[in-house]
């Protein structure tokens, strides 16, 4: 009951959840319906400002901006989602194993995490793009790789705490091996924390994806992408400022929503931290 009340009364959580839901809804709807075709070129309404062509105007090819933004939400979210999922899978595996085995395995994992931290997504994306060209795969790998050490550190720290608990001790004395203990006791106990971290990483991944497609190493045209829309808008900055403002606003809103949702979830999962933030 009290947990439910906290959820209901938590403004950050509610607002963040609402924005995230809106984002998800837009992305899903874009796959079945958009106000206009996001690929249809209509030179007559080229660079049209909002309300003059469609709700939000048109881009430099005369494509409907509303539709482009909607499909952009889908593309951005799906890349971010897959990348974070990959990073989480790899990171949690490494982190929990490091916590289970300790010793040199832990040392190796943490050193590797240090090294990977030196390669922000943009940097590795440029390396990969130079080899296999730009595209969704490049973006997913680059963002995913940078997420591995994040999840490795978080899950290792959390798993180490679980390993100190009494029920793990009991399981160990009952003869359970580290792998089973990790599966049965550690993972269920750190799942909440991982969900919180994943929400926040999703926000960061959306930012990174936007950066990659801004540089032209993300999803290639004609797939609409918020970052590339911004990159295209640079050329028409003074003629059509809405092209530079609206996609950025979409990114910021998406990130803001996910961050607030993550903060709210953390408050509920870990009330101890609450007073400090």
């Amino acid at each position: 009951m009290t947990a439910l009340r906290t959820v209901v009364r938590h403004p950050t959580l509610n607002l963040g959840g609402l924005v995230t839901l809106l984002l998800l809804g837009t992305a899903v709807v874009s796959q079945v319906w958009t106000p206009a075709s996001p690929t249809q070129i209509q030179i007559t309404q080229r660079l049209a400002p909002p309300l003059q062509a469609g709700l939000l105007g048109a881009d430099h090819f005369g494509r409907d901006l509303t539709s482009l933004l909607m499909v952009g939400a889908w593309n951005s979210l799906s890349i971010a989602f897959v990348a974070v999922l990959l990073g989480m899978a790899g990171g949690v595996l490494l982190g929990t194993l490091a916590a289970a085995w300790r010793g040199w395995a832990e040392e190796v994992v943490m050193r590797l995490a240090d090294v990977t931290f030196a390669f922000p997504a943009v940097l590795s994306a440029i390396m990969i793009a130079a080899l296999i060209g730009p595209g969704a795969t490049t973006a997913v790998i680059a963002i995913g790789v940078f997420n591995i050490p994040v999840f490795a550190r978080v899950s290792r720290a959390a798993a180490l705490q679980v390993w100190e608990r009494d029920f793990v001790l009991a399981a160990r004395s009952a003869g359970k091996g580290p792998v089973l203990i990790t599966l049965h006791h550690v993972l269920p106990n750190i799942a909440g924390l991982l969900v919180v971290q994943a929400t926040i990483q999703l926000a960061l991944a959306i930012l990174a994806e936007a950066g990659l497609s801004f540089l032209g190493v993300g999803m290639p045209p004609p797939h609409p992408s918020w970052g590339r829309m911004l990159s295209d808008a640079q050329t028409y900055l003074s003629q059509a400022p809405h092209l530079a403002i609206l996609p950025g606003l979409a990114i910021a809103l998406a990130v803001l929503g996910l961050n607030m949702l993550g903060d709210g979830l953390r408050d509920i999962i870990d009330p101890k931290l609450r007073r400090k933030r």
Partner: protein
């Protein structure tokens, strides 16, 4: 102390070595034939062969790696395939833009974030606190390259105070700094948003410590106790986060340099990618990664200065 330094230096060397191996693996071993990638699928067989020879691809991988590493350590980074000039020269020119840009961004973000965080903590749960937290939430969500575009839109297109990009060179330091100001602000905003938050929670935590009460019992005013006793102790986590953020700063510099068409390392890397100049990419990526690693190493050392308990090791 010396033992501690030695251990840290060893860890630094190992991390740097691992990073260079990772780069070498990705860019020289994974593709199989880097020369084919650089010249594209339609290259003639004799040009390919010439490039392979030039890049030393006929020699074994470990020899190439050691050559590259040795070159990197002695400042000989090889020859750019597209520019036909030594990469070291290219990099040196570009560093003269990127380094001041990053430095300026750190300066601006710290100058903004630390006072904001302290003000928020000193006014805990009051309007000033809520205001700073709101700024932080929004600042974190704004992509720096978009913020850069907005700055250009307002200060260049609308007000006409700054040029929309480009770099005049350091012959005229004032003009150079002016050209770096907007990009640095764009780069600094998200960093400042995070730092302000970290500073706030760190100051709040230290404010609750017993020794702050001891200081107040000496008769120090709230403000003086904050300055003399809280700040230094609160800065330790702030410096950690600054070190961790350096990696984002590097990524941000690549983006922001492209928004403002600054001839920096990020732009060089971007151009090298477009031209598939693997030699330049390899060197610049190594430089960026090494920068991140060394900065984090320096942050580690800074702890010892901030927290005397860590000096003995």
């Amino acid at each position: 102390m010396i033992f501690l330094l030695l251990r840290r230096f060893t860890a630094l060397a190992i991390t740097l070595l691992l990073a260079s191996i990772a780069i070498f693996l990705v860019l020289e071993i994974l593709p199989g034939d880097p020369a084919a990638i650089m010249l594209g699928t339609e290259a003639r067989e004799d040009t390919l062969a010439a490039l392979r020879r030039e890049m030393g691809l006929d020699r074994p991988a470990y020899e190439r790696y050691l050559n590259w590493l040795g070159g990197a350590l002695s400042g000989n980074l090889g020859l750019s395939m597209t520019y036909k000039v030594p990469v070291a020269e290219l990099v040196a020119d570009r560093l003269a833009v990127t380094f001041p840009l990053a430095f300026l961004a750190i300066l601006i973000s710290t100058a903004m974030a630390v006072p904001l965080g302290v003000i928020a903590a000193a006014n805990h749960e009051r309007p000033a606190d809520h205001g700073v937290m709101l700024f932080s939430q929004i600042g974190v969500a704004i992509p720096n390259f978009w913020f850069g575009l907005l700055l250009i839109l307002f200060f260049s297109s609308y007000l006409g105070w700054f040029s929309a990009g480009g770099f005049p060179g350091w012959d005229d330091p004032v003009a150079a700094l002016k050209a770096l100001l907007l990009p640095a602000v764009a780069l600094a905003l998200p960093q400042a948003a995070i730092l302000a938050r970290v500073t706030r929670s760190s100051v709040l935590e230290v404010l609750g410590e017993d020794f702050v009460r001891t200081a107040r019992a000496k008769g120090l005013t709230r403000r003086v106790a904050l300055r003399r006793h809280v700040l230094r102790n609160a800065l330790i986590p702030v410096v950690t986060v600054m070190g961790m953020q350096f990696s984002f700063l590097v990524a941000g510099a690549i983006l922001v340099e492209n928004v403002f068409t600054l001839p920096g390392l990020g732009r060089l890397l971007f151009q090298a990618m477009s031209q598939r100049d693997l030699v330049v990419i390899k060197d610049v990526v190594l430089l960026f990664a090494a920068l991140v690693i060394v900065v984090n190493f320096l942050v580690d050392l800074a702890y010892a200065w901030l927290d005397p308990r860590l000096r003995q090791g």
